[in-house]
Amino acid sequence: MSTLNVSNITDGTTTVGTSYVVNGSTKAWVAANGSAVIRNSSNISSGVDNGTGDFSYPLINAYSAEEDYVTTATVRHSTDGLIATRNSSRDFATQLAIETSNDAGSLGDYGHEIMSVGDLA
């Protein structure tokens, strides 16, 4: 089996680093507990615990615009049926933000995971 060892790939016009291929193209992700203490992440500078079930994660490398990325999140907890939703009042091109709640809609402090893809600035 042969191995290509290159730093960049180009189509003749656009060049990208092979790190995009090797490491995938998810531009930001974070796994944190119910106090915004981060277990692991990529492209996140901090976790902010804004209150019960209210968390935001500023990006190191921002997205180009608020319309240029999509985000999904899940709650990681021993109880099934818990929900993580985008917090539109805090979610911008410069930070991810979610709220975590139970199936009745009451905010609660649950561990969570967020993944985001899009066009970086």
Binding site: N40, I44, S46, I60, N61, D109
Partner: protein
């Protein structure tokens, strides 16, 4: 030629061991007096990059980018990286990057609206989380 910030971050994450900070930043936004105090927790991969140096952009590039409209070119991904910081310098950088300026720069009131505290001073009991305020008299955090 300076590598794009995101490329530098990927390379750093593959090489550096994460560093959990011993500090937290407790802050209240004066424009939202009814909101509880927020707690900022440094990201361990970010802290590793800050302590290593030659990965993160200058803080002033983020500050200038705040005024750049969505969709317009931003400065921070393309700026030359800065040297290593101490953990204390990294926390100051993070305050200026991730906390609104009305907290750390513009506030003129008498209340203490921001404190850098050791992890141990953040209450572990979250029963009344939405009532947390910065303690104005003692060294307790909230």
């Amino acid at each position: 030629m300076t590598q794009h910030l995101w490329t530098r971050l990927l390379e750093a994450k593959s090489r550096l061991k994460p560093v959990q900070s011993k500090y937290r930043v407790l802050f209240e936004d004066p424009t939202q007096p009814d909101a509880p105090a927020a707690v900022l927790v440094p990201d361990p991969n970010w802290m590793a990059a800050a302590l290593e140096g030659n990965i993160l952009p200058p803080i002033d590039t983020y500050q200038r980018d705040r005024d750049v409209p969505d969709g317009q070119p931003k400065e921070h991904p393309y700026a030359a990286p800065i040297p290593a910081m101490t953990e204390e310098e990294a926390i100051e950088y993070l305050i200026m990057k991730d906390i609104p300026p009305q907290v750390w720069r513009d506030y003129q009131g008498n209340r203490s609206v921001m404190k850098i505290v050791p992890v141990e001073l953040i209450p572990s009991d979250r029963s009344f989380r939405n009532a947390w305020k910065i303690n104005q008299e003692m060294e307790m955090a909230a």
